[in-house]
Symmetry: C2
Subunit: 165 residues, 2 copies
């Protein structure tokens, strides 16, 4: 196809290598932190990140959430939430409750045990994150937070629009 190796190299990437390197670094940071959090959740609480995330979502919504709402907040598929909720219900951490006036929907709520358990996990989790980010100064954290805000907007704008929201 191409004339020689140099030509191929020169025109293949129109200069998008910077964005790629940024993305790879972003991914590495997230993967490192996430992996450590998963590992500690397993070690200290014998649980998983998705379970923790689901409990966290319910903890922020004392009135309860439908499976669909949980699915949107966690950014995972609805079928995924079904299985997750089934396991957490079996462990007695959450409960399914029919929503009055709509027999399709159900509300998920933390049980008392679930609230207790999440409080323990949540406190540890917060400490872990602080520990992992301890080497980043408050000023840097502020700058990162702001820049990641821009990044989020950039990505959202490039994404296909959601059905409703």
């Amino acid at each position: 196809m191409s004339v020689d190796a140099e030509t191929a190299l020169a025109h293949a990437p129109p200069g998008h290598k910077d964005e790629l390197r940024l993305w790879l670094r972003l991914l590495t940071c997230t993967t490192l932190i996430e992996g450590e959090i998963r590992s500690r959740l397993r070690r200290d609480f014998d649980t998983t990140l998705p379970r923790f995330d689901l409990l966290a979502a319910l903890d922020r919504a004392p009135e309860g959430l439908s499976l669909g709402e949980v699915s949107r907040r966690m950014m995972v598929s609805n079928g995924n939430v079904t299985g997750l909720a089934t396991r957490l219900e079996a462990e007695g951490l959450i409960e399914r409750r029919a929503r009055p006036g709509d027999r399709r929907a159900q509300l998920l709520r933390l049980t008392a045990k679930g609230r207790r358990e999440f409080a323990r996990q949540s406190a540890a989790h917060e400490g872990w994150i602080a520990e992992l980010l301890a080497g980043v100064t408050p000023v840097e954290r502020g700058a990162l937070f702001r820049l990641l805000g821009h990044t989020k907007i950039s990505v959202r704008n490039a994404l296909p629009p959601e059905p409703s929201a």
Copy 2:
């Protein structure tokens, strides 16, 4: 100092809320981008991100990589790589080759078909990332890259030391 709402807010959590918010935003950005990339890889190439990542690792190592090396570079378990390699080998994109002098190890290499296929996917992938990050200015990208470098170091320092490296 004093006993008012401000004080209460200030001491209840030892001040780790900032780190937590930063982490959640970092996670959101990564999840958004990653989800879109997964979706496009499926739509345009009928493949997945782990497959793409494995091909990328092999593309950067023309001499081939052992399963263990791939496992370390992708930061996934070794058992995971076994299955991934099996599927990619079945599709004819990579090949297993015995390593001379060590009957335990094998080298994974891209086949000609694998190289062709990865080149197509890689070009598209690079464009997607550039598209998603188009709303972040070059200056901001530079700052982000640097700050994420600090973050990576901070996390690595807080992590349990690896066996070897």
